[in-house]
Symmetry: C2
Subunit: 391 residues, 2 copies
């Protein structure tokens, strides 16, 4: 990306929260907070000074399968930033004396969930919908956090941090050869084993109501879709966009615009390698919750009746515009590179994506929906009263 | 911006929620939802189709002084998008038959605030801290929403929408001359009066506790700063960055890293033309709330003891990196152009901003803090128990 001055770095380390020891759920979250508290020759304070002095905006985020290290700054500061990342990944101090403070934070994070009805409902939806442990919450439990020790934190680093399976993507105004040489220098002598992710168990699914004395009722719904990389992938994305891509999309029009049932209503496609789903959200008043659920489910089911050329035209325009936007941001680009590499083992060219979007038609989307009709809904509600579930 | 394919449009219309009629608070929010429901020759459905078909990502957001219309898409789609924006601004249908659905949504939005403790505390802080009506909440009240009629919505459009005081910024791969010609064609025959914003009343300030049976206690704090455009502006920004810019910043280090008091702690600079402030947030457990408040206030007051060269080095790097990032995004750039024009009546060059950041020093920041020491704190807490306020 010759015409920008910034660059972004994205490491995916196969050390997400599915690798939490079953009696120490929450370990990866705690580990992710510990790992930047000193590394290589720098203690915690020196490390944060070094990163801040490079103008490095960075985050460490815990996904289900990956721990993601992201950083973005001026392109010329990326080489020293990569040295720091190498220290963090390979030589973190994981200082035992700071574990209590980090555990206190983790407990806070867990407690805060009780004050966030939407997130709370989503945690329960994921737990039910995804094959375990993919739906496991990164926060753990009060009891499991109590079990985490400095020894287990160190053991986790030893077991999960090695070169195997780590993906590094860099996007921005960078030359390939010096970048490759530096990465080789920083990481080529790294040794380590790699263990596969845990076996998946059949999902729990079903319906649940979480009683809570809130003014709003939170409704979250999930149903299966096809994973990224599947021949039906773009059609699946198209179907979700018909529901929830832009102002004229069905959920927005039917639930919000026409009936005024709720401000926020949306459907999102989410994927793992083997499984994928569409996760929907609506938040509304207690009084209108039943109608909101019924109308939303009705719209999901109505996909099977077909989509119009006009709708597909909107979907194509929206998806193509999003691809262009993403291409212009170094951070988005670094994210997309890493994601493509993980799911496909290669990086898609923009042209390839645009052609696939152009090929979307009412027929291709309908064919997909007929093969994978929205049904078998996992539903979680949170609020004063339980709702009547669809048959 | 020759090297991108996208462009972003940003209209600031002087029609923010301070112009809500006192007995119809919430009117501007409702108006902002009505204004895209048909315009010019297109009814609501045709308008949303037209926008979606251009791949136009857009939003209408209600600020205190401005109603902001933002849109972003492929640069080549900007001319037809501007035609649509001209219809929306000048010829909205504001269909009376949809007002009930929109009012229902506005009531939901108001009720949802009860389930969002952080936002709820912030609404009360703003109400107390800013000179009225700058701290007025855009959501209104149940009673005031009930007073809003189709007639008042139309009267608002007639009174507040005219060419005077509207700022339009466009950033992206666009040529100046055809853009200027199109804007002239679309808007030059527009006539309308302009009334100044309401007079400001002295702020309420003080301390308040909002009792609520939550697991966390929300703490929000504000103190005065200098407005954007003031000679001290960059030093003020530097002081806030010392508190809350990056990992090594004081609030993050002292409140989160060392003591594990809370996950989220931050300070943000906010400005109007005549007044500005620093607004701080911390969310923590009931048990640790008092300590969190005390430590946070302690850090704010400690600014007067001076900042180190090391801290200023971090601040400069962070601010400069942020400027570069902003420069590369068409949306951020369109936002910054409009903001500069509103506050300064001109657009700052990147060099000017960078020089001002380079000129930051421990002395310049300390001089500012001595002139405007953090004090006279407006504090709002929300949670189980009230806290002891600082003297």
């Amino acid at each position: 990306m010759d015409h920008v001055r910034s660059a972004a770095v994205n490491f995916l380390v196969p050390a997400g929260c599915v690798y939490d020891p079953p009696d120490q759920l929450g370990l990866v979250s705690i580990f992710s907070d510990m790992i930047t508290r000193g590394a290589g020759d720098r203690d915690s304070r020196a490390l944060s000074l070094a990163m801040d002095s490079l103008g490095l905006d960075h985050s460490e985020s815990v996904g289900q399968l990956h721990l993601r290290f992201w950083g973005s700054t001026l392109a010329r500061n990326i080489p020293p930033a990569l040295e720091i990342f190498a220290d963090i990944l390979r030589r973190p101090h994981l200082p035992a004396e700071e574990l209590d403070a980090v555990k206190a934070l983790a407990l806070q994070d867990l407690q805060a969930l009780e004050d966030e009805p939407r997130a709370k409902a989503m945690v329960e939806l994921r737990r039910r919908f995804w094959p375990a442990p993919l739906g496991q919450d990164r926060r753990g439990t009060e009891e499991s956090i109590g079990q985490i020790t400095s020894t287990s934190i160190r053991a986790f680093h030893a077991a999960r941090f090695g070169p195997k399976g780590i993906i590094l993507a860099v996007a921005g105004n960078m030359d390939w050869r010096p970048l490759r040489d530096q990465v080789e220098k920083l990481f080529s002598d790294w040794r380590g084993v790699s263990t596969p992710p845990p076996e998946l168990l059949p999902p729990l699914k079903g319906h649940a109501h979480l009683p809570k004395d809130t003014t709003q009722t939170q409704i979250v719904i999930a149903y299966p879709s096809v994973p990224f990389g599947d021949p039906d992938y773009y059609a699946a994305l198209g179907a979700v966009q018909v529901l929830s891509g832009g102002m004229g999309a069905r959920l927005f029009t039917e639930v919000r615009e026409k009936r005024g049932l709720c401000y926020a209503v949306s459907a999102n496609y989410q994927t793992f390698k083997q499984v994928a789903g569409v996760l929907c959200y609506a938040g509304t008043t207690t009084e209108r919750a039943q109608e909101t659920l019924d109308v939303t489910i009705g719209e999901l089911k109505r996909l099977i009746d077909g989509v119009s050329e006009e709708e597909v035209q909107r979907v194509r325009a929206g998806l193509k515009s999003a691809v262009i936007m993403q291409e212009e941001s170094t951070s988005s680009r670094a994210g997309a590179l890493a994601s493509d590499w993980y799911y496909l083992g290669r990086v898609r060219a923009t042209d390839e994506i645009q052609h696939a979007i152009d090929a979307l038609s009412p027929r291709s989307i309908l064919n997909h929906v007929k093969k994978y009709p929205p049904k078998d809904f996992t539903i979680v509600t949170l609020g004063k009263n339980p709702l009547q579930m669809p048959v």
